[in-house]
Amino acid sequence: MVQSSAHSGPPLPPSALAGFMAAVLAVILMAILSYQAQTRSVAAADAVTQGVELIVQIQNLLSSAKDAETGQRGFLLAGDEAYLEPFTSGKAAINGELDQMTRLTGQSPEQRQRVDQLRGLISAKLDELQSTITLKRAGKSEAALAIVRTDRGKILMDKIRVLVIDIENTDRTELAQRQQEWQRTAILSTRITWIGSIVLLVLIGAAAALVSRDYRARQLQSWLRTGQMGLSERIQGDQTLDSLGENVVSYLAHYLGAQVGAIYIAEGPDRFRRFAGYALPAQLPNETLRRGDSLIGQAVKDNRLLHLTDVPPDYTLPVNSSIGKSSPREILIAPASIDRTVHAVVELGFLGRTDDSQQQLLALLSTMIAVAVRSSKDRTRLEELLQETQRQAEELQTQQEELRVNNEELEEQSRALKVSHAQLESQQAELEQTNSQLEEQTRLLEHQKDELSKQRGLLGERAADLQRANLYKSQFLANMSHELRTPLNSTLILAKLLADNKDGNLTEQQVKFARTITTAGNDLLALINDVLDLSKIEAGKIDLKPEVVRLAKMVDEQSRLFQPLAEKRGIKFSATVLPATPETIETDPQRLGQILKNLCSNAVKFTEVGEVSLLVSATAESLSFTVTDTGVGIPENQHKNIFEAFQQADGSIHRKFGGTGLGLSISRDLAHRLGGQITLQSTPGKGSTFTLTLPHVLPTAKAGEPALDETGIRAAALAAPLAPHQRRIAPAQIEDDRAQLASNARVILIVEDDVAFAGILRDLAHELGFQCIITHTAGEGLLAATQFKPSAILLDINLPDHSGLGVLEQLKRNPETRHIPVHVASIADHAHGALELGAMGFAQKPVTREQLIEALGRIETKLAQRVRRVLVVEDDERQRESIRELLGMADLQITTVASAGKALEALRTVTFDCMVMDLSLPDFSGFELLERMQEQDGVSVPPVIVYTGRALSPDDEQKLRRFSKSIILKDARSPERLLDEVTLFLHQVEATLPADRQRMLKVARDQDSAFEGRRILVVEDDVRNVFALTSLLEPKGARIQIARNGREALDALLAATGREADRIDLVLMDVMMPEMDGLTAMREIRKRPEWKKLPIVALTAKAMQDDLEACMDAGANDYIAKPLDVEKLLSLIRVWMPK
C-alpha cells in the first residue's frame, strides 16, 4: 500500500530503470556505429577525390608532354625561338605534375611504379626533345631531323601514352571501387540512424507506458487515501449512532458519487435495521432486515461486497427528487465487518456506472465503518450502563433512606410502647378505683338526664310552635302585602286619572274625592311597606352591609333633605357635627340613613313653630345622633308606647300629620340591629329629643366579600399596543436608497410625513455620507426599522397614524431595535418625553441646517463610539488604584474620582457604561449620590455596582436595590465578583443594551394614567422581584412602597391610614415571606373594615388550583403566578386600580 520511502529505495521502479538503461546503451552503440560509418565514408570520399585528381594530373602531364613536343616541332620547323615557348612551359610543368602524381598514387605501389616508369619515359622524351632543339640551334637541322626520324621520340611518346592510359585505367578502376565503397558506407550510416531512431522510439514508448501506469496507480492510491481520511474525519469524536450513520452514508454517497444510500446496523445476530439514509424517500419499507433475506441480507451472510448492475425498476432504493423518480442503474452493497462479524451494511445506489475503484474503496472503508459503529455502540452501551448505575445508586440510596425511616419509626414505637405500658399499668389501678365511684354517679346522672330530656322535649315543641307561628306571620304578611298592593296599585292609577280630569266632565267635588282616594291609597301603600319592613326586621331578615361612613356626608344628606321641607313649614332646621367627633363610623349607611330620616321627618312633622336640630356627638364607646324639636311633645306615659307598632300617643295624630306611625318602631328595631338604641326625652308642649346611640363599629361585622364589583372587570383588556400592521412598506413619496443599500453603509431611517422636509433631510444625510430610507407614517417607520435595521433614526413626532413618541417607545421596547440611536424632531416641545423614552437628542422645528448637521454629527460619534467607559467612585486612594488595576483591560477607559461631587460632574460630561462606587464618600453619602443622579437632568445613569466595606442594614439594601442591581461587600473574595459583575455589565452593554440602558428602564411615562401618582404597596421579600417590580412600575408614574413581609405591610397600611396623601391604592402581595406570610397578612387586612375594599393582588409561586383559591379565600382580589408575566401584571393592576 505504502511506497517505500524515496530515500532508501532505487530512484525509479526496476522496469523503468531497465528501460532507461537500454535506451542509454542504444544511444551509445548508435553513436559508435555512426562514427565509424562516417569515418569510412570520409576516407572513401578522400580516395575518390585522389583518383579524380590523378586522372586530371595525367591529362595535364600528357598535355604538358604534348605541348613540349609541339613546341619542339614548331621550332624544328620554323627555327623560331618563339615556338619553343610551349616546350619550356611544358617542360617546366612536367616535373611538378609528376610529383603531384607521385603524391596522389602514394597508396598504390603498383601505380607508383608506373609513375616512376612514366617519369623515366618523360625525362627520356624530354632529353630527346632537348637534344633536337640543341642541334637545331646549333644549326644542324638535319641532325635534329634525323633524330626525329629515328622515331625514338615517337616510340617514347607512344610508350608514355600507353603508360598514361594504363595509369588512368587503373585509376578509374580504383575510383569506381572507391566510389562503390563510399556508397556502401553511406547506406550503412543511414541504416544505423534509422534503426537507432526506431529503437529509441520503442524505448520511449515503453517508458511512457510504464510511467502512465505508475501514475494511474498512484492516483488511485491517493483517491483511496483521501477517501479514507475523509471518512475517518467524519467518524471522529463521540458521536451517537444516528449521527454517525448520517455522516457515514452522506459522506460515502458524496465521495463515491452515489445518488442514494442507506446504512443498516446489526441489532442482533440476524437482524439489521436501517438507521440512516442519504436522499432516502420518507416512507420506505424494509426498515429491518434479516440475515439471508434480500440482497443486503445475502451480502451480510456472505460477508462480501455485492455489485449489482441492471437493477430492476422497482428496487427498494429509488432515487427521488421533487421533479421525478427513477431507479439506480447500479447498486453496491458493502458489509462492514471486523473479525468476521458484520456490524453494519452500507447500500449505495448509482445512476451511472461504477468501477473497481469505488468497490475497492468501499471494501477498504467498510472496516473503518465497522470499527466506528462498534465503538459508537460500545459507547452508547457504556453510557446506558453508567446511567443505569447512577439510577441504581439512587435507588439504593432511597432504600437506605427508607430503611432509616423504618428503623427510626420502629425505635420510636418501641419507646412509646414501653412508656405507655408503664402508664397503662398505673392507670389501670386508678381506673378500677374510680370506676366504682363513677358507676354510682352515673346512675344519679342518668336519672337527671331523663328529667332534663323530658323538659327539653317540651321546650323544643314550644319553640317549634313559636317558630312556625312566626313564619306563618311573616309569610302571611308577605303574601298579604303583595295581595294588597296589586289592587291598590290599579286603584291609585285610576284615581290619579280621575283626579286629573282630563275630559273635564267631573265636578270639582268629584275631583276632590278622587284626590282623596289617591292620598289615602298612598298612605295605605306606605303603611303596607312599613308593615312589611317591620316584619322583616323582626324576623331578622334584613342584611346589614357595614362600611365606613363619613359622618359629615351623612349629616349633609339629612340637611339637604329636610332643609327645604322645614323652610316650607316655616321652621328652622340645623344639622351639626360636634368638633371632637371622629370623621367616620363603621355601620350600614342605608339603615342609619333610614333611622335619621325617620327621626327628622317626625320632628319636622310634629313641629309647628320653632326649630328642629340634628346633632352628632361622640363618647369613647359610642356616637350619638340627637334630633331635638320644639313640637307637641309626648307625655311621659306614652314614651314607651310610641315605639310599639300601632301604639302612638294619639291614634289620630298620624291622620293629621300623615304617616303610618310605624316609623319609630322600625327605627328602634333597626337601631337594635345596628348595635345601638333610641332614647326619648320629651315634655308635652315643649318638644322632644330623640337620641340614637350607635357604637363606632358595628359589632356583628363579619369579613364580607370584597366589595368591588367583579363582573366584567377581568375582561378589561389593555389598549392594543401600536404595532406595525402593514406587512409591506409603501414606497416613499420621494426617492430614497432602499433599493441600492450598500452592505456596509451607514443607513439612516427618516420617519417624516412632510415630504419636502424629508427631502431636505435626505439630501443632508447624503451630503454627510449616510444612505437614507424614508417613510411617512409611524407604522411604516417601525416596520422599516425592524426590516432594515438602520444605524440611526430621525423621527418626527407628528405623524399621520400615530404619535412619534409611540414609535420611539416601541423601538426602545423591541430588543432588536432598542440599540438604534433615535433623534427626534417636532414642532411641539416633546423634548422631555422623547429623551425620557430614550431618544439621544431632540430638535424643535423649525430646525436650522446647522442643528441638523450637529444632530447627524452626534449620530456619527455615537456610531463610532467603541471605547467603553467605567467610572470608579472611591475615596480611598489605594482602593481606587487597586480597582483600576483589577479592571484594567483593553479598550476600557477607567475614570476614577474621589468624591460624589466629582462623580456627578463626570457623569454630566461623559456617558459611562458602568459605574463602581463606594458608599462612604467624603462630601455626601453614596445613597445621596444615587438619588441625585436619578433626579438631575442631563445625568445619564449607567448600571451601578455598589462596592462597599460597610455592613448594610436590610433597609439600606432595599434602598440601594432601586438604583443598583449588584451590591458587593468588600471581603476576601470580593475582587473576583467585582471583576465578574463589571465584565457582565460591559458585555451586556456591548451585546444588547448600548449606553442608555438605565434610561430605558424608565421606559414610558406613557399615557397610562392608571399608574400616574398612584401608590402601590409591594409586599415582597425577594430583591430580584422588588427590583423588577419597581423598575416596571415607577416609570409608569406609580409610587412604590416596599414591605418585606406581612407585618411590615400591615404597619405600612396603618401608617398610611388617615393621611390622604399617603393613601395606598393597591397592594401586590407575595405569599411566601418571612415573619408573616401573605395569606395571614391578607386575612389581617380584611379584618379591618376600612381596608375591605383595598385591592390586593397576590403573587404566588404555587400553581395548583387550591393554592390559588387559598389566596382568594384569604382576601386577595386576584392573583398572578410567578414567574411574573409583565404584561399580565400590568393589566391586572390596571383592572384593580381604583378609578
Binding site: 440510596q397 433512606e401 425511616v405 422581584n1025 409561586a1101 404555587k1102 395548583m1104
Partner: protein, 285 residues
C-alpha cells in the same frame, strides 16, 4: 405480607400496577399532590408498608379511603414521603460549604438560601447554625420548603429526640464547628428544642418541586437526597427550577449519591466541590 396481594405473580403484578397508577392519579386529582414524576419502585415499596399499616388488602381500598375519608391523605402522605434527615449529615458537605462557599456568600449584602425538601428541618437548622457561626445568619434568610405539611410543622417546631443529639454533635464537630452545638438547644423531658432565634431567619413553606415554580432569587440551594425519589423528567424539572432560582454563579448542593451528569440541566452547572457534590451555576455570558 398478605399472600393474596403478592405482587410477584403476573396478574397480581398487573393489577397492582394499575391500582398504583390510579392511586397516584387520584392523589393528584383530589389533593393536587403530584407524585406522578416520582421513582415508582420506591413509591411502591412505601405503599406496601402503608397497606400493612392501614390494614388494607389492596391499593384500591386505600384509594377509596383516600377519596372518601377526610384526613386520611395526611396519614398516607407520611408514608409517601421519606422524612429522614439528621443534623450536619455528611459533615464534609458542611465543611465544604463553610470553607469554600461561605467566603463568596460573604460578599452579598443579604444572603438567601433555599433548602428544597427540608423534611423535618435538621438540615435547615444545621445551615442556620453554620451561618450563625460564620456571623452571617443575621443577614441571611433560609427558605425551607417541603410538600408534607406535617413534617414541615415538625421542622418549624425544631424539637428533636434528645437521643439523636449525640450523633448531631459529633457531625457538627466534624463539619468544622466554631462553637458547641449545645449553645443552640435546650434539652428537657427527653427532647431538645432548638433556639428560636435561629428560626427568625427561616421561612418554612409548603412548596412542590413537581408543580410549583420559583419564588425567589437565592445564592445557595441545598437539595440533598430529594432528587433520588424523582424520575429523570422530574429531576430535570427540579434542576431547572434551581437554575432559575439561583443568582449568577449561585451554588447548588445535592446528595452524595446524586449526580447531575445525566440531566438535561447538566450544562447549566459547573463542578465547584465535586467530591461533596457542590455545583456552581454556569455563567451564560
Amino acid at each position: 405480607m398478605d399472600a393474596e396481594i403478592d405482587p410477584t405473580s403476573a396478574t397480581h403484578g398487573q393489577r397492582w400496577e394499575i391500582e398504583f397508577r390510579l392511586l397516584i392519579e387520584a392523589i393528584y386529582q383530589v389533593y393536587h399532590y403530584d407524585f406522578r414524576g416520582y421513582a415508582a419502585a420506591s413509591l411502591k415499596r412505601r405503599l406496601r408498608t402503608a397497606l400493612v399499616n392501614f390494614e388494607c388488602r389492596s391499593l384500591s381500598q386505600i384509594q377509596d379511603r383516600l377519596i372518601n375519608e377526610p384526613g386520611f391523605f395526611g396519614l398516607l402522605l407520611n408514608f409517601l414521603t421519606v422524612p429522614v434527615s439528621e443534623m450536619f449529615r455528611d459533615p464534609g458537605y458542611f465543611r465544604a460549604l463553610r470553607e469554600q462557599v461561605v467566603p463568596l456568600l460573604r460578599t452579598y449584602p443579604s444572603i438567601k438560601i433555599w433548602v428544597a425538601g427540608c423534611s423535618t428541618g435538621e438540615e435547615v437548622y444545621s445551615l442556620a447554625i453554620l451561618l450563625r457561626e460564620e456571623g452571617l445568619l443575621e443577614r441571611a434568610l433560609i427558605y425551607a420548603t417541603d410538600i408534607n405539611p406535617q413534617t414541615l410543622a415538625k421542622a418549624q417546631a425544631g424539637v428533636y429526640d434528645v437521643d439523636r443529639i449525640a450523633a448531631f454533635t459529633d457531625s457538627h464537630q466534624r463539619s468544622g464547628a466554631r462553637s458547641s452545638l449545645s449553645d443552640y438547644y435546650v434539652a428537657a423531658y427527653g427532647r431538645a428544642v432548638f433556639d428560636k432565634s435561629l428560626r427568625r431567619r427561616i421561612v418554612f413553606s409548603d412548596h412542590s418541586l413537581a408543580t410549583d415554580s420559583v419564588f425567589a432569587e437565592v445564592q445557595l440551594i441545598s437539595c440533598r437526597n430529594v432528587l433520588i425519589y424523582f424520575n429523570r423528567d422530574l429531576q430535570d424539572r427540579a434542576l431547572g427550577l434551581f437554575r432559575e432560582a439561583l443568582c449568577r454563579k449561585g451554588f447548588l448542593g445535592i446528595g452524595s449519591k446524586e449526580s447531575l451528569r445525566f440531566s438535561s440541566e447538566a450544562g447549566a452547572f459547573d463542578d465547584f466541590v465535586p467530591q461533596e457534590r457542590i455545583f456552581q451555576k454556569r455563567d451564560p455570558a
